[in-house]
Amino acid sequence: MATGAIQNQTQQPKIRWGELDEDDGEDLDFLLPPRQVIGPDENGIKKVMEYKFNDEGNKVKITTTTQVRKLANARLSKRAIERRSWPKFGDAVREDVGSRLTMVSTEEILLERPRAPGSKPEETKVAGDSLAQLGKGGAVLMVCRTCGKKGDHWTSRCPYKDLAPVAEGFIDKPAASETAAAAAAPGSGKSTYVPPGMRAGAERSGTDMRRRNDENSVRVTNLSEDTREPDLLELFRPFGAVSRVYVAIDQKTGMSRGFGFVNFVNKEDAQRAINKLNGYGYDNLILRVEWATPRTN
């Protein structure tokens, strides 16, 4: 019967505080809650909760989870049982406990059934898609300045003519987030000043588009520290027109704080981007791509 276990940490003995030296602050064990053991459950899992002071003097809780699992039943014949008690010989004579010749695998290995020919693992698909777009060769040279989409159309033929240039998108219309509130009460007594963009009859399509874009906002997390806006733009462009990209930058270090937002013009593009790029390996990290707000349906 073989077992798999993680080493347990030893418990420190209790010490009376009056007898402590001044700088012996580490032995203030009486301040720590007692050790707790949650006994083996039906899966054989045992949890031991201990409290300690770490090097910085912070109180830490260490949870050690052990699972004892029976690997197999061995039915031995009489002779086999005799053989079990044979003394070790050859190189095994000098076997110290530390020599870990025999170990139980840390991974669970399954008899993997063969896949149907059509279904390939997800990760290879993702790489294929974004690369396929760029692999179109000459088409890549056709770049639209408005929506920034490569290989689709020229600037003069952009279907998303109303889009403001990407970089200024956010600064341009700071009132965009307020349009929702303002539009809901257009005739609010005319006592407050209504900016031209929000007056009745003002061109709405642009602002509506802006607002809708914010609903198509995709949050990207786990970015590498030198990722910037142009990188995100290049990465998300193949999925559709991107109206705005933003990468959170730490002002002190100049490094990316690891997350950013991408606003798509079309929601379907955003959905596709989420499906394809979530879990995509980008510059040595695995991206997490999701809706910026709780799933907008």
Partner: protein, 326 residues
């Protein structure tokens, strides 16, 4: 399942053999020291020190008292299983490769490799009940096959000897007269070196694995080809389950594929096939190098694989294994 990893060998594994009772596992490797392990938890029992070259194969007597090993140092040795002491050494003019004890443990068939001007040969030797009476003379020497003979085993009732090797031909010899009885057909047989051979538990059929990426199932009496199993990799080791109708193939990798392989480690697998349908049931991954040896425990509830990485992986099947349906 959670395989048990046994790293007792520094060099690639060459052969694995369970004893009749299924409680001991003998492993042979290129590192000169065959090792014996307990087959339930993988704990090492001992090693047999004495060989000066890679140990290519071994066999154990039915009562698990005597072990015979064939080695590249041009000897085959008899050992006391319990103490590890050498009982006798058979000397040859070339590296000894395959050893197989006959039913009754009174005879053994040992093959020797072609070496300089010596051709490959199959030797039959008698095993005396008392090691002190043991002599090295051969009862029978069979010659003929070109190239290395990788495996030679006894047929049913010790009446025949089956051999397979580099010339890709399976041959059946009469064990008393030494006459060549049958040869496998060139058209339907293997196209490249046959690396391994496994007998069924009742001896009525056997399985050969070859570098031509296939394994073939043959009838022992008539040498008719029954089934063929196709893989993508050259086959280095074959085994048949004594309990279910499963065939396991372990393989390597074409040299040409080495540089373009996936960087993820642990991807060499032992492939399970249904014996009658020849369809792949699944694979068990984990080895970091090509699999060179496979063996099933006689009770059919566990199996072990030895790889080029020097590890022996002992797998106890989960209950679902016995319920697999295609």
């Amino acid at each position: 399942m959670r395989p048990i990893l046994m790293k007792g060998h520094e060099r690639p594994l060459t052969f694995l053999k369970y004893n009749r009772d299924g409680d001991l596992l003998f492993s042979c490797a290129k590192d000169h020291t065959p090792t014996v392990w307990f087959a339930d938890n993988g704990e090492r029992l001992g090693t047999y020190r004495g060989h000066n070259g890679a140990v290519w194969s071994c066999d154990v007597s039915r009562d698990s008292t005597m072990l015979i090993t064939g080695s590249a140092d041009q000897t085959a040795k008899l050992w006391n299983v319990q103490t590890g002491t050498q009982l006798y050494t058979f000397n040859f003019d070339s590296p000894a490769r395959s050893v197989d004890l006959a039913v009754g443990d009174k005879l053994v068939v040992i093959t020797s490799d072609p070496f300089m001007d010596v051709t490959s040969a199959i030797h039959v030797k008698r095993i005396a009940s008392d090691p002190s009476n043991q002599t090295g003379e051969s009862v029978l020497i069979l010659k003929g096959p070109q190239g290395r003979i990788n495996r030679a085993v006894w047929g049913p009732l010790n009446r025949t000897i089956v051999s397979a090797g580099e010339d890709a031909v399976v041959r059946i010899w009469d064990s008393e007269t030494g006459k060549l009885l049958k040869e496998s057909d060139k058209e339907t047989g293997h196209k490249k070196t046959i690396t391994s051979l496994a007998k069924a538990a009742d001896g009525s059929h056997f399985l050969t694995g070859s570098l031509d990426k296939s394994a073939k199932l043959w009838d022992t009496r008539t040498l008719t080809l029954i089934k063929t199993y196709v893989t993508e990799r050259p086959v280095n080791a074959v085994a048949m389950s004594p309990l279910l109708d499963h065939v396991v193939l372990g393989g390597g990798q074409d040299a040409s594929a080495v540089t373009t392989t996936d960087h993820r480690a642990g991807k060499f697998e032992a492939k399970f096939y249904d014996k009658t349908l020849t369809e792949e049931i699944g694979g068990v991954k984990g080895h970091f190098g090509p699999i060179n040896a496979l063996a099933f425990n006689p009770d059919g509830k566990s199996f072990s694989s030895g790889g080029e990485d020097g590890y022996v992986r002992l797998h106890h099947f989960d209950p679902d294994y016995f319920n697999i349906k295609i």
